[in-house]
């Protein structure tokens, strides 16, 4: 047995559309160790959310996981029956969704919604579950938790709602927590509180975390390792230091370059020209080539394989050697 908590191998998730099967996640692989935080970054639409939903077994109707393995402590989640998978969800693996307002059911109280997950996976009475809910709310730093359990979501601020989501996700001490853009749309002071919270909890419980975000600042702050996705594929994987210091893929470089920084003032930001390709009309060869400053003839022909650049640093680029910051 490996010590790996989660191992995703060649995951493929496709959407059935008018124009046939469209790949959304196309052969994604990565691993998460216990207590480790893995960040996934990448442009909008590159398949980050779909990857996490695939792990949760929650890909909705037109979408379907069509290949690969998702091993949680060696057990392939894709082989589980619906009932077995349900026992994992909310229990072994939990997820925090992006929009806190929309992710809580507006017509039930906070307490009701947290108790629900507790009672589903543990044999507790209503009162016990309520106690546990209050305890969880306290742990995520909500003042007056015993009152808040009786509140409805709309009575809470965005930051509080997001903490409720976290409380709910952590209620059954999951081994893996997936946080999909948990702080977008929150003000930085609150963002900081929430990220600290997640970080602390993961250390205390030795929870593995997959953190999906656009904010490279957050990545720098939180992640142990980083996966960069582009057009449904992993284009780079590295530990957080390597990624920021020695990015290997032109896309990663572009991403880092387009960040405005507080510490320096530039007239123009280096943005990546063009937009993410339409999944239905994927360019031939390397999907990034139309936007890539390093692109050559071969890039339009050959689809690159991911390869090791350094130890623990993988890049999917034909011209890996030539690329530099």
């Amino acid at each position: 047995m490996s010590t790996k908590l989660l191992e995703v191998n060649q995951l493929k998730t496709y959407f059935k559309t008018e124009d046939g099967m469209v790949p959304s996640v196309n052969g994604v692989s990565f691993t998460v160790n216990p207590g480790e935080t893995l960040a996934i970054v990448g442009e909008s639409g590159s398949g980050k959310s779909v990857t996490s939903l695939s792990i949760m077994g929650l890909v909705a109707a037109p979408g379907k996981v069509v290949g690969g393995e998702i091993l949680l402590e060696g057990r392939d989640l894709l082989q589980l029956s619906k009932g077995e998978m349900r026992k994992y969800r909310g229990n072994e693996i939990s997820m925090i969704f992006q929009e806190p307002m929309n992710s809580l059911n507006p017509v039930f109280t906070i307490g009701n919604q947290i108790s629900e997950v507790i009672r589903q996976h543990q044999k507790l009475s209503k009162a016990e579950a309520r106690e546990k809910s209050i305890e969880m709310l306290e742990r995520v730093g909500i003042p007056g938790a015993s009152k808040v359990v009786g509140y409805f979501p709309h009575q809470l601020s965005g930051g509080m709602r997001q903490r409720v989501m976290i409380a709910m996700a952590l209620a059954c001490r999951p081994k893996l927590l997936i946080a999909d853009e948990p702080t977008t749309a929150l003000d930085v002071t609150i963002q900081a509180q929430i990220l600290n919270l997640i970080h602390r909890l993961s250390k205390e419980e030795n929870t593995g975390i997959i953190l999906i975000t656009h904010d490279l600042g957050v990545v720098a702050e939180m992640a142990d390792r980083v996966v960069v996705m582009y057009a449904g594929e992993v284009v780079e994987e590295a530990n957080v230091f390597d990624l920021f210091e020695k990015p290997g893929h032109p896309y990663t470089i572009g991403l880092l370059g387009s960040l405005p920084k507080l510490t320096e003032q530039r007239e123009w930001l280096d943005s990546i020209p063009g937009t993410v390709p339409n999944m239905m009309q994927m360019p031939s060869g390397c999907p990034f080539h139309p936007r890539c400053p390093y692109a050559q003839e071969q890039c339009t022909q050959v689809h690159p394989e991911i390869q090791a650049k350094d130890q623990g640093h993988y890049v999917r680029c034909l011209r890996m050697e030539e690329v530099s910051v």
Binding site: L53, M56, L58, A60, A61, K82, R86, K87, Y88, R89, G90, N91, S94, M95, F97, Q98, E99, N102, S103, L104, N105, P106, V107, F108, E116, V117, Q120, H121, F152, H154, Q155, M165, M168, A169
Partner: protein
């Protein structure tokens, strides 16, 4: 709460005024009630006498003011047909109408909820198509056809239920079911579309991510939210049921408001028409208020905006 209800009840006044004006004009435009009250052999002189006796020879506005004045005191005049005071005649029918309306709504809900939910969950499948078609059939199937068929089957052939009339629970089943099927058609489609919206909401995904049973996801998280638009249609349907179930009432000889009203309309029994319309207007307003309250019970957000 009290002030809200008081305020909403104030709505009654404009509604009643509009209603009274429309009805007053309508009833008078349609024709001469005197002609209907007298036997076929009556003479012109007889008519003139009766017209005067009823005050129908006075100018319209005088009649209207008089009418409003007495209506405020609950006096809508005397029914031509029954020769009795109109309001009690109308109120007397309300229990029967309510009983039937409530039972019909219950049947409609019993039918529509599972069908609507299933067709939403199984969207665009064969099942969905079947349910859609069924609800159209339910809607297109005239009530009388359905009623008569039910009577033939359950009362005449099987002898399980009484044929017609009002009485115990067993009398209620067939007419309520007949009406319920028609109502459920629209409700099913509404539940379907509102459930479709809801099922795409993020909180449904959240619920699923907790590993709770799918039936809880649908039955608790989705349904409670999906119910909100359904309440609107239910209140509309309920009010239309109070006065508008003529055909079913006729087929099942159900002594409700519908029969009273239609006969009154047909015989230009103004007093009854006016009293009935006033009562129904009141019910419309009350049901608006109740709908509001139910909204607030279902959706805690409404309290605050």
């Amino acid at each position: 709460m009290k002030t809200y209800i008081a305020k909403s009840l104030l709505q009654v006044i404009p509604v009643l005024l509009i209603v009274s004006l429309i009805v007053f004009i309508l009833v008078r435009v349609t024709g001469d009630p005197v002609a209907l009250m007298l036997p076929e052999t009556a003479t012109a002189e007889d008519r003139a006498v009766l017209t005067q006796a009823l005050g129908l020879d006075q100018p319209l506005y005088t009649q209207y003011i008089k009418f409003i004045g007495s209506a405020l005191q609950g006096d809508f005049g005397t029914s031509f047909r029954y020769g009795e005071s109109a309001l009690p005649l109308v109120l007397e029918r309300l229990p029967a109408s309510f009983e039937l309306a409530v039972a019909a709504m219950i049947f409609a809900v019993i039918i529509a909820v599972p069908l609507g939910v299933i067709s939403a969950v199984k969207r665009n499948t064969f099942m969905d198509l079947i349910i859609s078609s069924l609800s159209v059939v339910g809607k297109a199937m005239p009530n009388f056809w359905m009623g008569i068929m039910l009577i033939l089957l359950f009362s005449v052939m099987l002898g399980m239920l009484p044929v017609s009339g009002r009485g115990g629970m067993e009398h209620l089943i067939l007419p309520a079911f007949t009406l319920g099927v028609g109502l459920s058609a629209q409700m099913t489609r509404l539940i379907r579309s509102s459930m479709l919206d809801i099922l795409n909401q993020d909180y449904i995904r959240t619920a699923r991510s907790k590993g709770i049973f799918e039936i809880v996801v649908i039955g608790k998280h989705a349904f409670r939210n999906g119910l909100i638009p359904v309440v609107t249609i239910m209140s509309l349907q309920f009010t239309s049921l109070i006065g508008g179930t003529l055909i079913t009432e006729t087929v099942f000889a159900w002594p409700g408001l519908g029969q009273l009203l239609v006969v009154a309309v047909n015989t230009h029994d103004m007093a009854i028409v006016q009293a009935a319309v006033f009562v129904i207007a009141l019910i419309v307003v009350i049901s608006n208020i109740l709908t509001d309250i139910v909204y607030r019970l279902l959706d805690p957000r409404i309290k605050y905006n």
